[in-house]
Subunit: 702 residues, 2 copies
Amino acid sequence: MTTVRTRGLDGIFRPRSVAVVGASRREGSIGRQVVANLIAGGFQGPVYPVNTRAEVVLSVPAFSQVSRIPGPVDLAVLVVPPDAVLKVAEQCGKKGVKGLVVITAGFREIGGVGIQREEKLRRIAERHGMRVIGPNCMGIVNTEPEFACNASFSATPPPVGSVAMVSQSGALGEAILADAAQAGIGVAMFASVGNRVDVTAADLVAYWGDDDKVKVILLYLETVGEPQEFLQVVRAVARKKPVIAVKSGRSDAGAQAASSHTGSIAGADVAADTLLQQCGVLRVDNFRDMFSLAQALLNQPPPRGRRMAVVTNAGGPGILATDALVALGMQMAAIAPATARALRKVLPPEASVHNPIDLIASADAARYRAALRIVTRDPEVDGLVVLFVSPIMIDAAAVAQAIVDETRELQKPVLACVMGRQRGDEAHAILQRAGIPVFRYPEDAAVTLRLMARRWRWLQRRPAKTPKFRVDKAAAARLFRTHRGRGWLPGAAAEAVLQAYGVPFAPSRRVQEPGDAVAAAHKVGFPVVLKAEAADLLHKSEHRAVRTGLRSGDEVFAAAQELLTRLKPRFGDVSLQVQRHADGHREVLLGMTRDVRYGPLYAAGLGGVQVELLRDVVVRIGPLDGQDPHEMFAGLKGAALLGAFRGSPPADLDVGVEVLLRIQQLVQDFPQIQEVEVNPFILAGKDRRSVAVDARLRVETR
Amino acid sequence: MTTVRTRGLDGIFRPRSVAVVGASRREGSIGRQVVANLIAGGFQGPVYPVNTRAEVVLSVPAFSQVSRIPGPVDLAVLVVPPDAVLKVAEQCGKKGVKGLVVITAGFREIGGVGIQREEKLRRIAERHGMRVIGPNCMGIVNTEPEFACNASFSATPPPVGSVAMVSQSGALGEAILADAAQAGIGVAMFASVGNRVDVTAADLVAYWGDDDKVKVILLYLETVGEPQEFLQVVRAVARKKPVIAVKSGRSDAGAQAASSHTGSIAGADVAADTLLQQCGVLRVDNFRDMFSLAQALLNQPPPRGRRMAVVTNAGGPGILATDALVALGMQMAAIAPATARALRKVLPPEASVHNPIDLIASADAARYRAALRIVTRDPEVDGLVVLFVSPIMIDAAAVAQAIVDETRELQKPVLACVMGRQRGDEAHAILQRAGIPVFRYPEDAAVTLRLMARRWRWLQRRPAKTPKFRVDKAAAARLFRTHRGRGWLPGAAAEAVLQAYGVPFAPSRRVQEPGDAVAAAHKVGFPVVLKAEAADLLHKSEHRAVRTGLRSGDEVFAAAQELLTRLKPRFGDVSLQVQRHADGHREVLLGMTRDVRYGPLYAAGLGGVQVELLRDVVVRIGPLDGQDPHEMFAGLKGAALLGAFRGSPPADLDVGVEVLLRIQQLVQDFPQIQEVEVNPFILAGKDRRSVAVDARLRVETR
C-alpha cells in the first residue's frame, strides 16, 4: 500500500541520480565523505557533486549549481552551511528533485532563527512535493545491489543484509552502524532522521513494512512524534515483521512518576513504553540486546511458550542459565518421562537427565548429537539453550557442528552459549553461520529468549470487541452544562456523571448538619463512613476528613460535629457525605488522563495506600478494546492481591473491566473531560456488589 | 596473620618443586597439559613427571613413583584415575609433600563410592598435614615471577597482574581465565577449588587478604560451605580490598521464596545474598560486570556519593547514560552555579552546561580538556562519566588523551564510554592504559559505578553496639520446660515467652465461653478483636477465625457463638482470645528462622497482606548489631509505607528495632527456638504505644 506516509520515499532510497550539494575536496570533510561513500557504495547512477568553486571532486566532474546539472536529479544531499539550505532547497524544487537529505545542522535544535528556518524548509519541500530526511542528520543508506546508495557520511560501510534501521540521533547513527557491522548484522536500509521536518520513524516503518527485502526493523528513538499515528502504522507492520527499539529517556519517567497525584501518574516514558508495547515493538535496554535479538528473530522462530530446556556440559553454566531464564519469567521445562528414559540410555550414569540436562565434561560432539536428537523432540519443550564450556580434549568446532545439524528444520528456537576460548571462536563462527545466535554468557541468551517469547505472545493476541453500554448521556450532558468551566467538578456532580454511565457507587447522602447526617445514616444503613467535602479539600485523608466504621446515630453525630468544627475555619463551606460502608478490602483505581499528544491514557491500579506509595498502576493508550482492561489488571505487580487468598474469594475483575470500559465510553462522549479517577473502587467477590467509594473528574477550563 | 585456614597454602601456591602424578605423553591429555603449563609458565624449581611407563614427558625425565623422586616435593598435582588417588595421596604424605592439587574427578559429585573416597582422601591429608585443592578441579596458578606456577590444565596462560580469582566450577574456571585475559585483567593467583575437601573459597580469601600483591579478589561461587566462617573471614578481608562475586543459584531462591510461610521466607539464595552483602562482597550478575568492576576498582577510587556528572558530545548517549544512572539509584549532580558559569565561557552557545553536559558534536580534544578541567573541580560532583561518540573530523585518540590528562590525580572515579569505531579502538586503548575503565555502552558504565558506590557505603558503615535488655529469662525458661517437645507453642505460651523478653502485646484475655468473652471484652476495653485458637488452626484468616471491630458485649457474644459453632466440629478444642483493638495501620513482621547452615536468620518486613503477597522482607544473618535492624527497615521496598503520609506521623521504627533485638536476645538465650514470628506488630506513631497482635514460636522437637 502506498499511503501519503510512504509516497515519494523511493526518490530518497532508490534514486536514479544523486546531487551532493556542498561536495568538497577537503580531506576529512563531510562534503567529501558523502561523495566518497556514494562511489564506494557502488551507486549505479550518476553522482553530481555541486560546489561553487571546485570543478572536480574525487575525480567526478562538479557543477557550480544544481540548475547546471544536465540530467534529472532524484535525490539531493545537502551539506551546505545552514543559511544556504533554503536557497538550495528552492533550486532543487525547481529542478524537479524528488527527495532531499539535509545533513546540515542549525535548525530547530538551536531554537530561535533555527525554528523559523526549519519551518521555511518544510514549506519549500511541500510546495515542490519533495520528501525530506533531516535536517541535522547523517544521511541514508540502501544496500540493495541495484539501488546501492550510501548517501551518508558514515565511516563504516554497512554489510548487506535484511535489517532496516532508523536512528533519531545522528551521532548514535554512526555508532549503531559500526556496532551492527561488528555484531555481524547485515543492513538493508538505514536512515538517520534528525529533526524530522518531514519523514518520521513511523513513515520509514511503513515503507519498510511493505518491502520484502526487509525482515527486521530496528529503531533508536528519543521521542515519539505523533503517538496515535505511530500506534496505527507500527502495530500493523509489527504483525508482519519484528520491530525492535531502543528508546532513551526512561529516567524522565522516574521524575514524572514521582508526581504525587495518581491522575498524572502516566509520565512521558510510561506513555512511550506502553505505546511501544501496544504496537508490538520489542523494547530493549541497549544496542547489544538489540542486535542479539535482531539476529535471533532473523533466523529463529519465536518460542510458542515459556518452557525452556537447557543442555550443558557443566553444572555452573547450567545454573547460571537457569537463574537467568527464571529471573526473566521463563520456566524450566519439565522434561517428559519418555525423554528422560531415552536420555538415560545414551548418557553416562553421572549425567543429569533433569533440566538443566548435564551431559558432563566428557561430552563430545557425538554425545551432544545424541542428546539433542532426543530433547528437540520433547513436546514439553518450547525452546532450547545449548551451553558448551570448551574443555581440553573436546573438539569445540565439532560440538558446534553437532548443534547445527541436530537443530536444523526445528520449529523451536535454539540459542547457544559457548564459553571459554579454546577453539571457541571457531565454534562461534560455525553457529553464527548456521543462524544460531551464540553468546558468551548465558544471561544474554535468556534476555533474547524472553523477548522472542514476548513477540510470540503479542502475535497471539486477538483484540476483543469493545461493548457499547446503555448509558444516560443526556443526564451527563446536563451535569457538564451546569458545571461548565469548573475544573474539578464537585464530588456530587462527578459521582452523578459516572452513575449516569453505569458506574456503581456505595449508597450515600449529602448533608450540611450533624442532625441530618444521623438521619442520612439511618437511610443508607449502618455502618457508615462520614466524609467532609469542600472545594479546596482535595486530599481528604491528609486532613483527616474521613471517619470510617460509624455504627450508631450517636457516633455519626459526634463525628460530624468534630469534622465541621475543625474544618470549617480552614475550608469555609464544608458539607458532609454519609456513605454506606462498602464490604471488601481490594481497592483499585480506575481512571483516565488526557495527554496533549497521546490522547486518553487509561489507568488501572491498586487503590488506597498501595497506589500512592507503591505506584502499582498499568497505563494504556486509548482506545481500549475489550481485552485491554483484563491485561491491565493481569499486568499489575500486585495482581496476586486481587486473586483468592486466605479464605477470601477472588476479586470480581469483570466488574473492574466493565467500569473502565464505561469510563472510556464517557470520555469518548465528552472530550472536555481531562481527567477522571474512580479511587477507591472496592472490588468484592462475585457474590457481592462492587462499588466505587470516591471519584474525581476534571473538565477543561476555558 | 597465619591462621589454621591459611597455614600450608604457600606449599600449594609457592612450591619449590612440583610432582605431576599421572603426567602423560599423550597429545591433548590433561596429564601432558599440566606439565606443559608448568614449563611454559616459567616454574623456577624442578618439575617431576610421574608416570608408571614413560621415562620422559615433554623432554623432562619422569619417575615411576613419587617415592622414587630424589629431592623433596612441595606440591603434587594428581591426574591419575580416581581409584588410584588414595594410594598416590598416601605416598605423597609419606614423601613429605606439603600440598596436593587433585584434578581427578569421581568423588563426592558422583555420590556413593565417590563420597567415601573423598572422605578417605580428607583423612589421609589430615594425617600427613597436607593441604588439598580439589578434587574435581582444574588446578591453580600463581603468576609471581619468583614463584611462577601454572599447575592447571588451562589452555589460556593468564597475563600477570594483581587480581586473585577462585572458581567453584572447574569448567567455568577455564572460561573465567580466558575471559579475564580478553578483558585485559592481569591475574596474580587463581584456583579452581572443585569439591573443596579441604581448601575453601574462604581460606583463599584469607590467604589473599594478607598478600600485598593481590589488590582485588574475584569469586565464582555456587554454594557457600560454612556461612558463619565465611562471614567472619571475608568481612575482614573486604575492609582491606574489594571482593567481587558471581554467585549462581538465584532461581532456587525463587522457588523457595514461594513457600507460603513467612517464617521460611529466607530461601537459600536470599541467605547467600544477604551473607555476601553483610560481608561487603560486591555481587554481580555475570562475568562481564565482574571484570569491568575489577578493573574500575583496581584503578579508580570509589565515589563518595551518588551525584554523577555526565559529559558528552551528543545528546542521545547523554540521555542513555542518565537513564541508566538514575535507574540504578544514582543521581544526576546539580552542577554548581560557578561551574555552569565557567563552562559557559569556554563552550559554544548551543552547548548545554546542565548535567548531562553536552559539548555538542564539534567538541574536539581542546574543548573536552577545557570542560573537564572545570567539571572535575565541582564539589557537587562525586564521579564522572565521560561519553564520546566519534564524529568524522574529530581525533578520537586526542580526546581520549585529554580525558586521561585532565582526570589524572583526581580523587573521584572517572569512567569513559567511547561509542562508534572511527579510531575508537585507539581511544579505548589509551584510556585503558591510563586505568580509566572504558565501555562501549553507557549502561555498562552505570552498573560499574553503582557497585563502586556500594563499596564506598559499605566501607563507611560503623557497627553499633547491641544493647543488652533486662528480661525475665527465668520465666521464659519455665514456659519452655512446660511445653517441651511441643513444636509450635500454644498462642498464649508464645505470647508469654515474648512478653518475658519485653515484647509489648495488645491487652487480651483467653476464655472458653461466649459469656466469659463478654466479660473479658469489658476488662480489656472496647473495641475488641475476637480470635479463635486451636492446635491445628495455624492460618486464622483462612478459616475466618478473626473478628475485628466488635464494639459491644452483644457483638462479642454473637461473634463468639458463631466462631465456636463453626470451628469446634473441625478443630476440636477451640478457645477464644479477646484482644483490645490496636490503633495504627502500619503492620510489620519481625522474626527469626534458624537455618541449619547459616544459623539464626532475622527478618523484618511489611506485615499483614503485604508480607504474604508482596514478600517485602529483608533478612540478615545473625548476630545483628544495633545498626542492622535500622538498615533492614530502610531496605524494604515499601519503606515509604512506614514514613509520614497523608496526615499520619511516621511509624515509630525505634520500637521495631528494639523488638527485633529483644527477639535476638531471646533466640540467643534459648537455642531450642527454631522459628519465631511476631506478625503483625502494629507500629504506631511516637505518641502511641506500638504492640504485637499475634505471634508464633516453634521449638525443636526431639
